[in-house]
Symmetry: C2
Subunit: 344 residues, 2 copies
DNA sequence: TTGTAAGCGTTATCAT
DNA sequence: ATGATAACGCTTACAA
């Protein structure tokens, strides 16, 4: 039963027990590559540490090394499973490297304020996703290694999903099925990822020679209730679209709910496609057709990129290959039915 | 533009600028209540700090005070919105008190290992929810302030929801509607909260003089896919129940999905009630009848209790009043229909 | 009222 | 190969 006392075991305790100096203990235990310690001594130290139940004080280590071995992850909404997965993905790779992750969202605070708190904790870096990093005050992140997700930047390196393709895939799927009366629901935002999804969608429409009446472009927060409201507004219109692309699955599920509640047959009368492919997308009924984006992989990539920086490697801000996305056909899309929707 | 250099501003820098000693700066800036500093000096220090953009190094402070001002929260699965909300609730109150929260789940690690990592980070305390704290090795949490959620313990203080009532409420609702062929889907677990939900349910059945055939008691992981599988098994039985209580909403939503997929009319042929009332419960179709438990409040209470301990107050392990729960009637429950289900 | 100094648990640079 | 020793940035007696 190691460490009966209340005071945590320190290198001094280990040193005393092993009959060596504290410095030697540190050499052995800190994994210093250039540590030249006699085999026998090392053994003795290791044993003593084991026996006493020694665990290094990461704070103390951080103090002298000037790092905290912790990073922050800032997302708009942890309640959105997509962002949660980004965090989870990052957490897994950071944990392996011995880093802690401080996740936080900006629902009840501003990104700047959040960054502020993170810096007070001396985090070594941050991963920023979906909060419009470009608009951040320059000094909010000085002294910090940064990786941005889904947002090109010449200040910081970043990782991205192929958001443009996501929007295009959605549009092409609907177009191929024969839809011509297309609507879009998405947030009014400066968040690059969302803008690209939107742009991809509209470009594909344009390429197909299709225009979208302005009342079929609905702005709404990227949440379930946002999607719900937007769909209700859409359904109240004199002319209804035959299909709608939602900028994320939360919106799509809210929209689906609203449509179902209004007794609109999905997908017969109206097709819906989402984006993200969160778990719930295949739990709702009918199951949501959506564009799959691997949030965990995105988070993992961001973490690896951040790690490279933290380890002192120079990392270019030049964007790498975006994470591929793919359409997942499920139950909320079908060819438009004769006699329903917009007849031009 | 404060702090152009790369080196973070320290109390020394502030001291130099203000023309006082570093110790005085500390007195002013550390919020020491017994600090006796001349008004003029204090002003000068504050100004200098402001001008330089000083921010205290929480790690260094922690090192001398012997605390890290960080806590851990351990839950089984952050992907479950219920647990996420517990974390969020805790995070809000901890943040106000200047504490960071390190959330983590035990999907890919054991609680012990996780606690281990947390201790290495010198967290000051942990909130443990849903991972069977009772079974934790005693020394995994020595030196740590602990609050357990939904688990009575004479070692640690805790907060709890009224899980017993949750199960009972579900049963009574079904019973009142006239159901007699009742099934249960829940995890095989030693997690107290789940056991109580189950016990509350079965007690109410017993009080009503109703027994449940053993094949209608399905054990499954508390996840969507777990619920899905369990429901499929239930539907494959020669005799089907007319209603089923699921130990949480994830199970319930999986079960609902499976039933719908099998063309079982919900709620006409089969009633389903869940537990937790996560956001998605009212997004699926039909909307899930469930028992509402305020996860955020639970997390907030746990945090406040932990805070009290961290501030040195003795906190008894005696359980307080459990967080009340309430039934939310929605679309997945209805009286049993003649001619369907178990006719005894 | 202010400054000096010790020390928190480490790491890392030296002599030895 | 090992042990003093000086940081790291801060708090907190204690001395002036």
């Amino acid at each position: 039963m190691p460490n009966q006392s209340l005071r945590p075991v320190t290198t001094h305790d280990v040193a005393r027990k092993a009959g060596v100096s504290q410095a030697t203990v540190s050499q052995v235990l800190s994994g210093n590559p250039r540590a030249r310690v006699a085999r026998a001594t090392r053994e003795r130290v290791l044993e003593a540490a084991e026996a006493l139940g020694y665990r290094p004080n990461i704070l103390a280590r951080g103090l002298v090394r000037g790092r905290s071995y912790a990073i922050g992850v800032v997302v708009p909404d942890l309640t959105n499973p997509f962002y949660l997965d980004v965090v989870t993905g990052a957490q897994r790779v950071m944990a392996e490297a011995g880093y802690a992750v401080l996740p936080g969202d900006t629902r009840e605070t501003t990104p700047s304020r959040h960054l502020e708190a993170l810096r007070a904790r001396q985090v070594d870096g941050v991963i920023i996703d979906g909060v419009g990093a470009a608009a951040l005050p320059h000094d909010a992140i000085s002294e910090l290694k940064v990786v941005v997700v889904d947002e090109p930047s010449e200040r910081w390196p970043g990782v991205a999903s192929d958001a443009l393709a996501a929007g295009r895939l959605a549009a092409e799927h609907l177009l191929e099925m024969g839809h011509r009366g297309l609507a879009f629901i998405g947030p009014a935002t400066d968040v690059h990822g969302f803008r690209m999804r939107e742009r991809g969608f509209f470009r594909a429409l344009k390429d197909a020679g299709i225009a979208l009446p302005h009342e079929w472009l609905r702005r709404t927060p990227p949440t379930v209730s946002g999607g719900h409201k937007a769909m209700r507004a859409l359904l109240a219109l004199p002319r209804r679209p035959t299909a709608v692309f939602c900028a994320n699955d939360l919106i799509a599920m809210g929209a689906l709910k609203a449509a179902l509640t209004a007794n609109v047959a999905i997908p017969r009368e109206l097709s819906i496609v989402g984006c993200d492919d969160v778990e719930m997308a295949s739990v709702v009924t009918p199951e949501l057709t959506t564009v799959h984006i691997s949030a965990r992989e995105l988070g993992a990539r961001a973490a690896r990129l951040l790690l490279r920086q933290l380890e002192g490697q120079e990392v270019s801000a030049k964007p790498g290959k975006p994470l591929p996305v793919r359409l997942v056909r499920r139950g909320t899309t079908a060819p438009p039915t004769e006699g329903t929707g917009d007849r031009g």
